[in-house]
Symmetry: C2
Amino acid sequence: MVKEGNFTPAIILVAPQMGENIGASARAMKNFGLSDLRIVNPRDSWPNKAAESMSVGAIEIINSAKIYDDLEDAIKDLEYLYAATAARRDMHKENILSCDLPKDAADFSKIGIMFGRESSGLTNEEISYANKIVTIDTDPSFSSLNIAHAVAVVSYELYKNHAPKREFEMIDELVDLEQKNHFNNQLIKKLEDTGFFRVPEKKEQMQIKIRNLFGRIDKLSKTELKILYGVFNLM
Amino acid sequence: MVKEGNFTPAIILVAPQMGENIGASARAMKNFGLSDLRIVNPRDSWPNKAAESMSVGAIEIINSAKIYDDLEDAIKDLEYLYAATAARRDMHKENILSCDLPKDAADFSKIGIMFGRESSGLTNEEISYANKIVTIDTDPSFSSLNIAHAVAVVSYELYKNHAPKREFEMIDELVDLEQKNHFNNQLIKKLEDTGFFRVPEKKEQMQIKIRNLFGRIDKLSKTELKILYGVFNLM
């Protein structure tokens, strides 16, 4: 796990062509708590209007992005560098899956992940700067990801393994079993009074089914129980 | 885990506004082995040129997408439905994180995940059709994801838990320890011959450091070892 309180992986876009993808990548980074964006040789001039408009709420990441002419400059402060690309059969380089990235990167305090140009990815020379290749676990028959999707998935993977796991609480107060049983008893009594159990030998089975049915409503709230009383006109 | 050989979760886009996002969602679906795309009330007419052009290689998913006027129609064959949205404090509905989705969905043979409109997400009424809410694990202070990013992350999470885990093999033949030791011995002998170990009492320590240094190159291939011999002019 990336060390708590020190979660600053760098995202390095190498020769990106579309400003829209830079903006969308910045937005995804912010969704997953990242902020260190580096861009090597963007095709279009910088600042870039399309990048700004696609960043939607992550404009500060675009504004603080660092632009480099040279990959070596962009990575010089990093301890460990990953090249995000489909598996390469033409290089003798270690390859991990994206799901193993957080564990693999756990020993380093400052990592970077570089992503290649939209048209043709990273060159072999660029990949040779990386310590390892990280491959997003796609269908092997269609492995070419949109660059911002790739940034989103890698950032997501790093974030969810770093952030303390969120717990969701239901806000409404829940009923206890006594309240649930009271409802079931009232319902069965009302059904009895209105002649619902016409076949006496099936009455017990039917009662069990009804108790099972309403018992299965998990995490029933007091408000919902009131609605059930209302629906059956039991109050 | 979603059952092997039966991996057909439906992605349901509710009232999407931008064709580009529909296309990008289709591409992400194909990256992660999904194909069942359903669209409820797209803002623009269908077929949609922007969707087609952004789908890049996933055009068959766009062409086979089903279009509905009504959410109820779009979901009627599903066994279990998730609403993808940030946590909602105003609904009494069970909420899980995206990382728990594969496990949560494991018992169902046909699930769907619905995603809301870009501007305002899903309405409470739409969410009321879902069995559960699934929330992508974002930084809570910036939880609004691009819709195609959300589709990508959810599809990724389902795919990587479904597909058999890929193993990467290094293609070049690796050296064994005998070959590595031979190189180290040759190198140390050459350094001795050229007077590298000037301080006799440090010689043994220095040899250990050199052996450690080259020993640490993991998964050294025969080709790479040849290069090392060449670099040190040892052949």
